[in-house]
């Protein structure tokens, strides 16, 4: 019997890999910048994770790839992130009806059936405002690391309103605020608010039925979490490792391949 199943999520900014055993427990996981070749990074990561857990390629029962880079990866099957995210989240939160996933360049909302199957979904189209990229650009303009954003934003008493839809123009706005002497915390709180507003409007189009699960890399950002909970007026369930949930879903699908 196979000892391990592999899920690979090659996203626009990062690559995530999850290894699970036949009991569907997570054995190991890894995240790294995708860089130029997400495929190479993923292949190396699979290898190092297998070594880390004392397993070999022959122990792998199946591999499923997801994310934008999925077609380049030599997996047994490539499956869309929407299906993988649904699979992963339903496994972790069986009561989830709505998934809000904000990744590097994508924001998506998925409505689940009680069985965990995808009922409906919506994604941002042709625009990266309200995604991880938006936060990255703003954090960089303010010379703070992404990890600091949440903490700093929490200290704000008067969040600035960022009015631009466009990430690039919003950056100009932020720089303008900095020049005007607006405190960093207020700008950062405004940035988090802008992301939350954008995504909550997408969510309201599809579903805001509880339980709501927030996932994707941006779910680690406390500033966005708080802003989103305020916008939706509902609590959000978040896994301890939100960036790997799609890769987990892929691994789960791999375990069901044969």
């Amino acid at each position: 019997m196979a000892k391990v199943y592999v899920g690979v999520d090659i996203g626009s900014l990062t690559v995530k890999v999850v290894l699970i055993n036949s009991e569907r427990e997570i054995l190991a996981h890894g995240t790294a910048r995708a860089g130029y070749s997400g495929r190479e990074v993923a292949l190396n990561m699979v290898e190092s994770l297998l070594t880390e857990t004392g397993l070999k390629k022959e122990d792998v029962g199946g591999t499923v790839a997801t994310g934008y880079g999925r077609v380049t990866f030599p997996a047994d099957r490539e499956v869309s992130e929407i299906t993988c995210q649904a699979k992963g989240i339903h496994h972790l939160f069986p009561t989830a009806q709505t998934i809000i996933d904000i990744g590097g360049q994508d924001s998506k909302v998925i409505q689940l059936m009680p069985s965990g199957k995808v009922m409906d979904f919506a994604m941002n189209d042709k625009c990266a405002a309200g995604t991880g990229r938006f936060l990255e650009v703003m954090a960089s303009a303010l010379e703070v690391s992404l990890n600091e954003v949440g903490q700093l934003a929490a200290g704000s008493r008067h969040p600035t309103t960022i009015s631009s839809f466009c990430t690039v123009f919003a950056e100009s706005e932020v720089i303008g605020q900095v020049s005007a002497g607006t405190p960093k915390e207020d700008i950062l709180a405004g940035v988090c608010e802008a992301v939350a507003r954008r995504v909550s409007s997408l969510a309201q189009r599809i579903s805001v039925l509880p339980d709501l699960v927030f996932t994707g890399g941006v779910a680690r950002n406390q500033g966005v979490v708080k802003a989103l909970e305020r916008c939706l007026n509902q609590p959000l369930l978040i896994h301890s490792e939100p960036s790997i949930t799609a890769a987990l879903g892929a691994a789960l699908l791999a375990s069901q391949l044969h």
Binding site: D76, I82, T83, F121, K126
Partner: protein, 421 residues
Amino acid sequence: MSVQTQDKVQAQDKAIPKKRNYRPLRSTEKLKKTIKTYYFLTGTHRYWGKPLGRKLAWVTSGAPVELLRVFNIHPAYPEQYAAIYSTNKATAQLCQVAEAVGYSQDLCSYARSNIGGVLRPDLAPMGGMPKPDLLVACNNICGTVLKWYEALARHFNVPLLVLDTPYLTGEITEQALNYVLEQFKGMIKELEKITGRSFSEEELKKQLDLSRATTGLWKEARQYCQAQPSPLNAPDLFIHMAPIVVLRGTKKGRDYYEIFRDEVKERVSLGQGAIENERIRLVWDNIAIWPKLFNFNKMFTERGACFVTDTYSGGWAIDLAPGSPLESLAVTYTEVFLNRSPEFRAQQLIQLIRDYKAHGFVMHSNRSCKPYSLVQEVIRRKVMKETGVPGLMIEADMADPRAYAEETIRNRVQAFLETFD
């Protein structure tokens, strides 16, 4: 590639269903000949128009062409030429010509590319459209045509006839009918003046009979797709609809659809499907994505998904209204589906899903066509709720390839099709 990786790739190939074979229609040869003849005639109008005493009109797709045929007018359709510009990959360039002189990029891409083709016929397939003697616009399909055709009228300095069909929030009213009939009076006077011919109700009846025969055949052929497997896929409908648009009301048009209908009927009796291993039956909503007609559809056919019917080519699968010729004309063209309420259109889609036993539907949020697209989300929810089948929304444009984002669309289509696994 290492042996192991090769094995993995081969395994992946096995996991994805094999590429579906696309069954070509015999009728396509006849269609090509028929349409080529039409384009040839249209393109050479400047040689035979005067001697034969036949004017050439540029006409909107929803205009009551039967009335024009009474006056022996030869119709040419800017919207149809725009579709050809698109399949011939000329649209982006033509749009840029129009945008350069000031037309907004938010404007309908048919309008932009048509205007681009007028200003730069050297960039347009077939050298663009022949010069019109008159323009005829009916706003049953949208309000954009009004300003578009006004711009054309100024440019060509030719008469413009406008038919204003009131929007129907429900059934057609006595008032709306009378309003349209009253406009016909004025139009007829103008047409008599322009062509030097007299109006004949008898002639109009003949034209309507020919149209009726043609749309009846088109309707019949499309209805055969209720069979499982469906004998046709949406691209077939989009290609074979050309004569219903440009040759409706002619013997040639009717004769073509007899051939088409016979072949479709034959496929059903032989149990031949448009695609092999039809697994997922879908309904398509909105105008086709002309620049990506086959590439786009491949994402579906390679997973055994067939578009068994659609709301767009179905727009011409209508029964002409009863009554006197002018009344029939007035009602038929006011009741065009784009001129109806979201409720009506939702019911239409629901009925198609039921009649054609569809597993789901796909809506093309077509940037260009506001009346078709702006109500889609409302319709999508209603239809999903009432039928229980999933509906996918994708954003693109019917003619402008610059609005088609390959990766994002592929992602959505794949996610949608995976829900049927």
